[in-house]
Symmetry: C2
Subunit: 142 residues, 2 copies
């Protein structure tokens, strides 16, 4: 049986994300999928107990920004760090705090968090169940 | 009692969204709020039974893209339309379908939907409770 390389599969998946449009050439197409169908990745230290799913990326066809879903285990936290891009977050489940330069605030489901670029920040799970939230960022230059 | 104009209130709110940083001048600050604290607006026809909350906008300090939360009443729908910007959506609750150029697909909580620019699309509530989803778009040029 012929083996297909991982790179080849990625290339095929990329092509399947587009259809030929006689007017505009190859174009991205609408996609719908459940978040759990996306591979989950560990976020390395200094994060603790954090996993991420990159739900929408440039590979999906998104031209401007990416949608990620984070889960933080009880007692876990994202790094306390800064970077020159903003976060737009929405809390899906669980309980915790978001730490900023002006102190910390409790977060719970239905909360919206905007973290401006260059502000030090951290998400901490202070509850007894998983903290789950969406966090969107602009694409980074490569 | 002195009346304060709507424009003045908007200006004050805008300034309260920033703090003076001696190194970088005025900067946006982190914000956390519950989605229900944002005013809800009716989406006009040809939408039907649709309301929107603009959760994160340029006024929040977001430089690149906006987070909106839509609710669609049972039997309601967003317009079947196209526009030259993408949607990144996440289904929060309820049941429905997303209509695209290649047919329609069922949507339920935890589903992710990417709608590329220029693809005709519509969200329809086919369930018996409110359909609620986040839908993010890049800022439009003014």
């Amino acid at each position: 049986m012929t083996k297909v390389s991982f790179e080849a599969i990625e290339w095929i998946e990329g092509m399947c994300a587009k259809v030929k449009n006689p007017e505009v050439g190859w174009r991205a197409i609408m996609k719908r999928f459940h978040n759990t169908s996306v591979k989950v990745e560990d976020v390395p230290a200094p994060a603790s107990g954090v996993k991420v799913r990159w739900l929408i990326t440039e590979e999906t066809g998104a031209p401007n920004f990416a949608m990620r879903q984070f889960t933080v285990a009880p007692g876990g936290h994202t790094p306390l760090h800064t970077h020159p891009w903003e976060h737009e977050a929405f809390i899906l489940s669980g309980a915790g705090v978001v730490v900023g330069e002006d102190g910390e605030e409790e977060i719970s489901p239905g909360d919206v968090v905007f973290v401006p670029q260059d502000e030090e920040h951290q998400f901490r799970n202070t509850g007894e169940e998983e903290l789950k939230f969406l966090c969107l960022i602009p694409h980074q230059e490569k």
